[in-house]
Amino acid sequence: MLIIDKRRLCALTGLILGCCLHSCTPVKPYQRAWLNDAAMRPGSSGIDKFDTNVHSIREGASGGGNGKTSGGCGCN
């Protein structure tokens, strides 16, 4: 069951990746007005930092582009 899930997950990830990268069009520097908007920046923004710390303490999972995955106690 776990193997099937892993295969499905890999297939889904590959499909999404393939579709996205296949549909890429070259973006010229003068076309970056939308992409350069503060809210379009990938990763977590400054105001996410505290929330991310809370999630990494209160949940078993952590990491994935949004903050530290170890260091610090967080044991309260």
Partner: protein, 431 residues
């Protein structure tokens, strides 16, 4: 009557020509004057961020009392970050802050029944320096810091490398961060100010449960950004974490079936790896709305498999003002060593009753208000933005929390005359 009129017109034309000649002459002389005082300058910029976080939670599954009892907790967390861009190549970032924690369950390590909950604090600071390699779009960074609280000391060390293509539509970053932690008690306690040993629950201090008090963590992370079109970009965040050492929390109790008096300290394996893999898709929909999707898959050594899905939709209701509603859904399976209060068997090798490692779902809903005038306050200081976020967080095991965050962003800029070694773009080639 016509001759005087013609003469007057000719005189006007001559006057106009004289004024025009004078104006041109003046402008030429003025331009020469400017030329003589022209100096190349580089602009040094400093971004100042002040973050204040407030967190409060309540629940009834405290790990300190074996998976039962109050989890009431409050955290006040002021933090400052200063990023100094000396020029376009060199950047220095300093960060510091304090987490002031008021925890009701911490009282139960010693079963202290005080009217006020026990206060503890975590103080942390870090510094990072990055520089851009000459004639390339590659940047290298190193960082370190210190985090200390009464029963914890963490020393992080890290390095990263990032590269973007000339158009900026593709970027990748690889980083390695190591944490060297010491879990002994006494670092900033009023009585000791030195490590004296691991802290155990009051009734279990006759046994030295763990010979090792160190924990080392190694995080390898990679990120890849790709602009799909002028309105959409995707990012991937694969990561691998390896931890070794004391991964148990020495004052978490575990109660076993059969007897009221058989309790022990939580015991988890001495090694753990974590594998998070996240993808983010940001889209500009229309002229005012941005849609930010985030999904993360996670699996680790303890048997936890988790999925996180987050959607945030910033809407610009004014050029300076935006609203961003946020929803987040999270689900995880239980660690294979978890069992609730009084349900562990004595024959088990590893055991914990920490509900952070149990099977649960969590939901979060929030709203961010952002005011970004980017308005000069003085010749050198600019008020960039003020953001306020409130979020409500609920876990299916009953834990509920409120999170409030305030972020103030300022900018300080200063121009310096260029000296030998800097080019006109402000890049230092003398290194």
């Amino acid at each position: 009557m016509e001759k005087p009129a013609e003469a007057a017109a000719v005189t006007d034309q001559k006057m106009k020509n004289r004024y025009l000649t004078l104006a041109l002459l003046t402008s030429i002389l003025h331009a020469r004057g400017q030329d003589s005082t022209y100096r190349h300058q580089r602009i040094a910029r400093t971004d100042i961020e002040v973050l204040f976080g407030y967190y409060t939670q309540d629940g009834n599954h405290s790990a300190i009392t074996g998976g039962t009892g109050t989890e009431k907790l409050r955290v006040y967390s002021p933090e400052f970050t200063i990023t100094h861009y000396r020029d376009s190549a060199h950047t220095l970032t300093l960060n510091g802050g304090v987490d002031i924690i008021s925890s009701a369950s911490m009282d139960n390590i010693d079963f202290i029944m005080s009217s006020a909950s026990r206060l503890s604090a975590r103080t942390h600071g870090s510094a990072a320096y990055s520089w851009k390699l000459r004639r390339s779009n590659t940047r290298i960074a190193v960082q370190s810091g210190l985090s200390v609280e009464s029963a914890y000391l963490s020393l992080p060390l890290g390095a990263s490398i990032e590269h973007s293509n000339p158009s900026g539509s593709q970027e990748w970053k690889a980083s390695l961060e190591c944490f060297f932690d010491d879990l002994r008690y006494g670092w900033i306690s009023k009585e000791y100010f030195r490590p004296i040993g691991l802290i155990y629950p009051a009734e279990l201090r006759d046994t030295n449960w763990f010979p090792n008090y160190r924990r080392n963590s190694y995080n390898f992370s990679f990120s890849f950004y790709q602009a799909i079109n002028p309105r959409m970009q995707i990012a991937f965040f694969p990561e691998f974490v390896y931890q070794k050492g004391l991964l148990s929390t020495s004052y978490h109790r575990v109660y076993f079936t059969g007897s009221r008096f058989t309790d022990r300290v939580e015991k988890l394996p001495a090694e753990r790896w974590k594998l998070p893999l996240a993808v983010q898709l940001n889209t500009f929909a229309g002229s005012r709305t941005i849609i930010r999707w985030y999904y993360r898959f996670y699996h680790d050594e303890l048997g936890i498999t988790a999925h996180t899905l987050q959607l945030e939709v910033p809407v610009k209701i004014h050029p300076e003002f935006s609203l961003a509603p946020l929803v987040r859904f999270y689900t995880q399976t239980a660690a294979r060593y978890f069992a609730p209060y009084h349900e562990h068997e004595l024959k088990e090798t590893f055991y914990t009753s920490d509900y952070d490692l149990s099977r649960f779902d969590s939901y979060k809903a929030g709203l961010t208000l952002r005011y970004a005038p980017q308005r000069p306050m003085s010749p050198r200081y600019t008020f960039n933005a003020l953001s306020l976020r409130y979020a409500w967080y609920k876990r299916s095991d009953g834990l509920a929390a409120h999170i409030l965050t305030l972020l103030l962003e300022l900018e300080h800029s200063r121009s310096h005359p260029l000296h030998e070694g800097f080019d006109r773009k402000g890049i230092n080639h003398s290194d």
